[in-house]
Amino acid sequence: MPAILETRDLQKQFESGELSVEALRGIRLQVQAGEFLAIMGPSGSGKSTLLHLLGALDVASEGEVLLHGDPLTQLNDDERARIRRRQIGFIFQSFNLLPTLTASENVALPLLLDGQNPKVALERAHTALALVDLSARAGHRPDQLSGGEQQRVAIARALASKPQIVLADEPTGNLDRAAGERLLQILRRACDEDRQTIVMVTHDPYAASCADRVVFLIDGKLSGELSGPQLSLAAISETLAGIEGG
């Protein structure tokens, strides 16, 4: 089965004056359609950078990112923007909701940016909010919601346009245990029932254990993965400890 997302010898360098930092080095990764992939690694290993490149938020220094076999690097800025709002949903650690919009408006935002009819967009937003059990809070603004509720709004926003790919950067990082579990259940359901592809960056072994496959990143390079029967909370924790222990 062809991969929905693929990277070929992906490299990313950040220049700052005379300093050059290699965030990613020769990453080769394939993500299958409908797969739930977790990316783990110590701080500064390049996890978020990889996620940004997969989501067409950033452009690689070298190598390719392929979406349905088409290279993202050849697209211009507006084309990448369109892909982000139609085919990719983002969930961030810090929610990143717009403070002036209500929950339903925040969820509808990508649809409205795509020029969809506002009524239709809001209906779809309400449907997405229902999926995350927040219908009753649709008219509330972010400052009127708890952290867990804000993150569920962010998930609804990511799912509202029914994207093929959902990218989540430390989605449980700012949540308590219960809220985090709830979020993971929603992502798991989106993967199982709607065949959406989930790529999640996480520090949390428990969150990673909900995935189908876990890859480990160290110093910008892939260095191992766990999947299938090998994938357990204990195995993940052990691998992570080994990596962080040096």
Binding site: S48, H52, G55, L57, D58, D77, D78, A81, R82, I83, R84, R85, R86, F90, F92, Q93, S94, N96, L98, P99, T100, L101, L109, P110, L112, L113, D114, G115, P118, R141, P142, D143, R157, D169, E170
Partner: protein
């Protein structure tokens, strides 16, 4: 101290635009103060070479100085708003940084020194630029005047007095200190906890509509009071001035009180049409106006100050020059036309004064005029003198010295009575020092009809009696001729000739011209032409003022641009999010440009309303009372004044949104451009 200096340097280097805009705004105000002094000196310094010339021209320099200084002061106020706004925003933005500094052990006085030095740097740079720029501005003003005026065509040496420079610097410094007082207090109140988190701005439901209602009620009451009490008719000087000041202060307070509500309400009103017109970008633009209402309001008010000034000053000048100054003369010269003999080419403007040796009518020429007229006309020998107590405007406005018999016989050009009459006045005017005054001058001196006023003259104190109160020609006070010796006057400066039969005007003009042929340096002109030339000169003053007021718009627009700059910086993460979820650069540009235009538009509309209100108040309260006109057509004067002043304001209204929109787009590129879209902004600090 070295640590603080290091922090100051780094901070200024990291956000140079903010400090530069603040310094430029301050510089524009200081520049105006310096230029006003230089310009007024250059007009009169080379021209007023004799006592008579000084008497005629001194007021021009004084009034120009007063007018431009007033504009300079208001520009400084606008700059103060800008500095207040940007410093408040900066303190808010740097709250985590300041908290960390406190957590690391920085004392409050050190924090004060840090922020104070940043402010001082802005102030000093602004003042320095302003003083240097004052010279350049003066040259620019002179170019503008010479291009638009046939009257103001001669300027002397350019120099600024040290007193004027020091005053401008002191005002600039005061504005800076006052404007940063509140932000510094807020900064000192920051808690010293290391993990201080900047609170997300919460959008509180608006209760502002009540403020709007209260302000509207107050203004309605003010309008009702004006309509029913009719102060233009019932009040006299100095109460008119006091009523004007109180009403204007009350009006401005109401407008200021209502301005946050106006901003909030506008944002709410604009949400739907912007959303329909521009989609989600328009909606976000409208909502961004509603959040941080304090900041948006201060920015809008700064812009409004500029437009208010334009409308207010335009209205003031239109009212004075078109409705008051020449109201009397136009009709009087229709009823009793006349000609004047002058020792200067009236058409030559100020340049004509440069070539003059004498500024008086020679005695032999005066006799030749009388002989040629041969009793068919009234001759009015006109003398000019500066008596500060009798000065209609400022301290150096001239007064006439006229023969009472000739004055009475010449018609109503020079004077008409609103209190008193000729029969009662003549014995006073002929028997000693008699005065004919406007109500404004009489009120200022606290004298009424037949009261005594002591004047300081070269011969010592002179007791004069008020023989009549009413409108005078161009507002100048009239002293009767018997005071001539005490005032130390020489020959007359001009002779006005009023034919007894208006049909003989042409013939008498030719005969007078023929009689004066042997005397070079004398010009005979129709008095209508003289007043027309004066009108032209006043129009030039209006052009000059409007030109200066564009500086006010520039300074105010800097405020809006500065606010936008800081706002964009604050919202870098928001822009990154919008880009992350698929907004194109064009969509974000559209949103920010709409916001920027709204700042300009709201400020312009608020300024238009405020300026129009100020003009209406001034006209409605003072009416014709300054001059003492009977049956002054208040409604007509109000309409004639508001129409051109609001038209001028509309031009300013068109400028402001354009400036703010054009300035916002290059700044935005730093946050959404190809290299500027930094996904790392999406992750928390």
């Amino acid at each position: 101290m070295p640590a603080i200096l290091l922090l100051v340097r780094r901070q200024i280097r990291s956000t140079p635009a903010r400090y530069l805009f603040s310094a430029l705004a301050l510089a524009s105000g200081v520049m105006m103060l310096v230029a006003s002094d230089m310009l007024s000196r250059s007009i009169t310094s080379e021209i007023a070479r004799t006592t008579e010339m000084e008497a005629v021209t001194a007021f021009m320099g004084e009034q120009m100085n007063t007018g431009l200084t007033a504009i300079g002061l208001v520009i400084n106020v606008a700059a103060g708003f800008l500095i207040l706004n940007s410093t408040l925003m900066s303190v808010h933005q740097r709250a985590p940084e300041l908290s960390r500094l406190r957590a690391l052990g920085m004392e409050r006085r050190q924090l004060l020194a840090l922020l104070g030095l940043e402010t001082a740097a802005t102030g000093l740079v602004g003042i320095g630029l302003g003083i240097l720029g004052g010279f350049g501005l003066t040259l620019g003003l002179i170019q503008l005047i010479e291009a638009t005026s046939s009257m103001f065509n001669e300027f002397g040496r350019l120099f600024a007095s040290s007193a004027a420079i020091l005053r401008a610097a002191a005002i600039g410094l005061s504005v800076t200190v006052i404007a940063t007082w509140l932000p510094l207090r807020r900064a000192l109140a920051q808690p010293s906890i290391a993990e201080y988190r900047k609170a997300e701005e919460s959008i509180t439901p608006g209760t502002d509509h009540r403020k709007l209602v209260y302000a509207a009620c107050a203004l309605f009451l003010l309008a009702a009071a004006l309509i029913f009490l009719r102060p233009a008719v019932t009040l006299a000087a100095p109460w008119t001035d006091r009523a004007v000041i109180l009403s204007i202060a009350f009006f401005l307070l109401c407008m200021l009180y209502a301005s946050p509500a106006v901003v909030g309400l506008s944002a709410r009103i604009l949400r739907r049409p912007f959303s329909a017109w521009l989609g989600i970008g328009g909606q976000l633009a409208a909502e961004n106006l509603a959040r941080s209402r304090g900041r948006v309001t201060r920015t809008v008010v700064t812009l409004a100050i500029g437009v208010t000034m334009i409308v207010g000053v335009s209205g003031f000048l239109v009212f004075w020059f078109d409705e008051l100054f020449f109201r009397k003369s136009t009709q009087s010269l229709i009823d009793r036309p006349g000609i004047g003999v002058f020792p200067i080419n009236v058409q030559g403007g100020l340049q004509a004064y440069r070539e003059l040796g004498s500024f008086t009518i020679p005695h032999e020429a005066r006799q030749a005029i009388a002989a040629s007229v041969d009793g068919r006309a009234t001759l009015v020998d006109t003398y000019f003198v500066i008596i500060p107590e009798l000065s209609f405007l400022g301290q150096r406005y001239f007064s006439f010295v006229l023969d009472p018999q000739a004055l009475r016989a010449s018609g109503e050009l020079y004077f008409s009575f609103s209190s008193g009459d000729w029969d009662s006045a003549m014995p006073i005017l002929s028997g000693g020092c008699g005065l004919l005054l406007t109500p404004a001058v009489a009120g200022r001196n606290g004298v009424g009809l037949y009261d005594t006023l002591k004047l300081d003259t070269p011969a010592g104190p002179l007791a004069c009696t008020v023989a009549g109160i009413g409108p005078t020609f161009v507002g100048a006070s009239i002293i009767s001729l018997p005071a001539h010796a005490a005032l130390g006057l020489g020959a007359p400066v001009s002779v006005a000739i009023f034919p007894d039969d208006p049909d003989e005007l042409k013939a008498i003009t030719e005969q007078v011209q023929a009689a004066l042929t042997p005397y070079s340096g004398l010009w005979t002109v129709d008095l209508n032409f003289v007043t027309e030339t004066q009108r032209e000169g006043m129009k030039s003053a209006r052009v000059l003022m409007n030109g200066m007021l564009t500086l006010a718009i520039f300074s105010a627009s800097l405020g809006a641009v500065n606010t936008l700059q800081i706002s964009l910086n604050e919202r870098a993460r928001e822009f990154a999010l919008l880009r992350a979820i698929g907004a194109t650069r064009a969509q974000i540009r559209s949103m920010v440009a709409t916001e920027a235009a709204c700042y300009g538009l709201l400020g312009g509309i608020l300024g238009l309303i405020t300026g129009g209100g100020l003009v209406a108040l001034y006209v409605a309260i003072s009416g014709g009372s300054v001059f003492g006109f009977k049956d002054f057509p208040l409604g007509e004067a109000l309409w004639n004044t508001l129409r051109p002043s609001l038209t001028t304001g509309l031009l300013a209204l068109a400028l402001a949104p354009g400036i703010t929109t054009l300035a916002s787009l290059p700044m935005l590129n730093a946050y959404i451009g190809r290299d500027g879209f930094n996904p790392s902004r999406l992750t928390p600090e």
